[in-house]
């Protein structure tokens, strides 16, 4: 028996969400007296892949193949399912990123495994196999019991620690064993956002709403984001009016995020918006309307005109950055 974890890489490096998934799997393995097997797929150097043992992987399977250098759902799912069977895995852990979301259901269907996404707890195995997940876009939690022998868990990024847990390196390097028929989608071009913090991975998010009056005032959001190494986001009306791209829209019908700090400027806090951001650890709300519903969900608030208070805040943030540079 083993606990298998998909160690997703981006251009040969492991992101924090990957390390969280490995540490999560290692903890589950420890609690169930089994071993944690991390599977890296792509072109990750063996020395890089070995780092996963620091986060508790008892065994690392490094699948190397030039054709797998960027993520492709179909072959990745097949490799993961094959290795799961070889390693007699009872639980397969992935991080609920875009890649994780596309691979998890495929692996589950291949292995006839029950699957839960958006997992925010370790499994409770005292009576069955129970995990907690978010539902209604963060408006509530649900406890789900999985009854199949094999289980797939897609865990929410920025929820679990990346506890260091040094294990002896045990790495197996292998080819994929796939043939051309396994590649049933063709990647034409990958465009990555550069020089910006990715919203879904950001620990700090600065977000603007209609209260900012127009896209020309977004420097108030961007300058603070720059000073705090944060990602930028916006409310639905803002993306609907094309002030900002849809890819920045957070909320129930946009992106659900869970940063350490969510900083909302000129956003009233409609229930649909709160659904997408309420899991943030700390929420700051700047709004000139003291009755804005967002204050009820906030940890810190300023009732005031964004155009007056934001320059002061940006200045203070720049000073803080300079002190810690």
């Amino acid at each position: 028996m083993s606990i298998l974890v998909f160690a997703e890489n981006t251009d040969g490096n492991f992101k924090k969400s990957t390390l969280e998934a490995v540490a999560y799997a290692a903890e589950v393995a420890k609690n169930t007296s089994t071993t944690c097997v991390a599977v890296s797929i792509g072109n990750v150097d063996d020395t890089k892949a070995e780092e996963l043992s620091k986060y508790g992987a008892d065994k690392i399977v490094n699948v190397k193949n030039d054709k797998l250098a960027t993520f492709i759902a179909e072959p990745f799912a097949k490799i993961l399912a094959n290795i799961s069977s070889q390693e007699n895995a009872s639980i397969i852990v992935v991080s609920n990123t875009y890649s994780g979301k596309s691979i998890a259901p495929k692996v589950a269907a291949k292995l006839k495994a029950g699957i839960v996404s958006g997992v925010i707890s370790y499994p409770d195995t005292t009576n069955g196999f129970k995990v907690r997940r978010t539902v209604f876009s963060g408006k509530a939690f649900a406890d789900v019991d999985i009854t199949t022998p094999i289980k797939v868990l897609a865990i929410t990024p920025n929820t679990f620690t990346t506890l260091e847990n040094n294990k002896t390196v045990n790495l197996v390097s292998t080819d994929s064993g796939l043939n051309d028929a396994d590649f049933n989608t063709t990647s034409i071009e990958v465009t990555r956002v550069t020089g910006k913090i990715v919203l879904t991975e950001a620990e700090v998010v600065i977000s603007g709403g209609r209260g900012l009056k127009g896209p020309e005032n977004w420097h108030l959001v961007e300058h603070l984001a720059e000073a705090l190494n944060a990602a930028t986001a916006c409310s639905k009306p803002v993306s609907d009016m094309d002030w900002r791209s849809h890819s920045e829209h957070v909320g129930q019908t946009g992106i659900t995020i869970k940063p350490n700090l969510y900083f909302a400027i000129g956003i009233s806090g409609a229930i649909q918006h709160l659904a997408g951001v309420s899991s943030s650890k700390v929420i700051v709300v700047i709004n000139k309307d003291p009755e804005a519903p967002f204050f009820k969900a906030a940890d810190y608030g300023i009732v005031g005109d964004a155009f007056e208070v934001m320059p002061k805040i940006i200045e203070a943030a720049k000073k803080l950055k300079a002190q810690h540079a």
Binding site: S102, G114, R192, T253, G254, L261
Partner: protein
């Protein structure tokens, strides 16, 4: 071209979520149900494609009779016909198996779903269904063009976008920019009444998970207010007290 669009019947986005029966059931009292917003985008794109290239758009829902108003709305928006698989949608796996069991003999060229349903947010049906039907799937697409049996799509990936192609048949899930949602017009509403809505009995499928209970997040403590003239103090509090920057 024969397109299938999978639709979910979900609580309106403004719904205040509460539970009954000792927090084991979602409280539907007074709740307005709608077509899942992402599924509406999938439907709109399917209609655009068939209007240009010919074909039919079938909508399928796994649900009980309370889904019918949403299904009729999909017909009013322009779907050719509709199938309701008569079963309580237990989880994504169950829903995907039901749809797969219906779709396996229907030879759809393209199957579209929403990125996720806004109630259970799993986003699994696309991948599960594709795997069960033995065809490719592509998650989170923002564009979709079909030419000579090849689908070309733009999808969101972690930290960027990817343009990719796949041969039909294919399952794909819709994101915001795929299409503009459509509002049914009077002619559509009238014709929806006579369009076929076929009720199919559910396939005998064992469930592999059960939701045991729900819980609402703990209410936030009181919000610490800072006077606007001392706005710069906020940064100090976030650094020293909240320790998030």
């Amino acid at each position: 071209m024969k397109i299938l669009v999978c639709i979910s019947n979900v609580p309106d986005t403004t719904t205040k979520i509460t539970f009954t029966d000792n927090n084991t059931k979602f409280n539907t009292a007074g709740v307005q149900f709608i077509i899942n917003p992402y599924d509406e985008l999938a439907l709109a794109r399917a209609l655009e494609l068939t209007e240009k290239q010919g074909g039919t758009v079938t909508v399928v829902n796994v649900g009980l009779a309370d889904s019918d108003p949403s299904i009729r709305k999909a017909l009013a928006i322009g779907a050719t016909d509709a199938i309701r698989i008569n079963a309580e949608p237990i989880d994504a796996y169950f829903v995907a198996e039901q749809i797969a069991s219906y779709a396996k003999n229907e030879n759809f060229d393209l199957i579209l779903t929403g990125r996720e349903s806004i109630d259970y947010n799993s986003g699994q049906v696309c991948g599960l269904l594709a795997e069960m039907l033995g065809i490719p799937s592509v998650n989170a697409i923002n564009s979709l063009e079909i030419e000579n049996g090849i689908a070309t799509m733009m999808r969101d990936i972690d930290g960027g976008r990817e343009k990719l192609s796949a041969k039909l048949p294919l399952v794909a899930s819709a994101l915001q920019e795929l299409a503009e949602a459509r509002i049914p017009n009077m002619r559509g509403i009238m014709s929806a009444r006579t369009k076929p809505l076929t009720i199919v009995e559910a396939a005998g499928i064992e469930k592999n998970s059960a939701t045991i209970g729900f819980e609402l997040p703990a209410a936030k403590g009181s919000c610490k207010m800072i006077a606007p003239e001392n706005a710069e103090q906020l940064i100090e509090l976030l650094h020293n007290e909240a320790k998030v920057i």
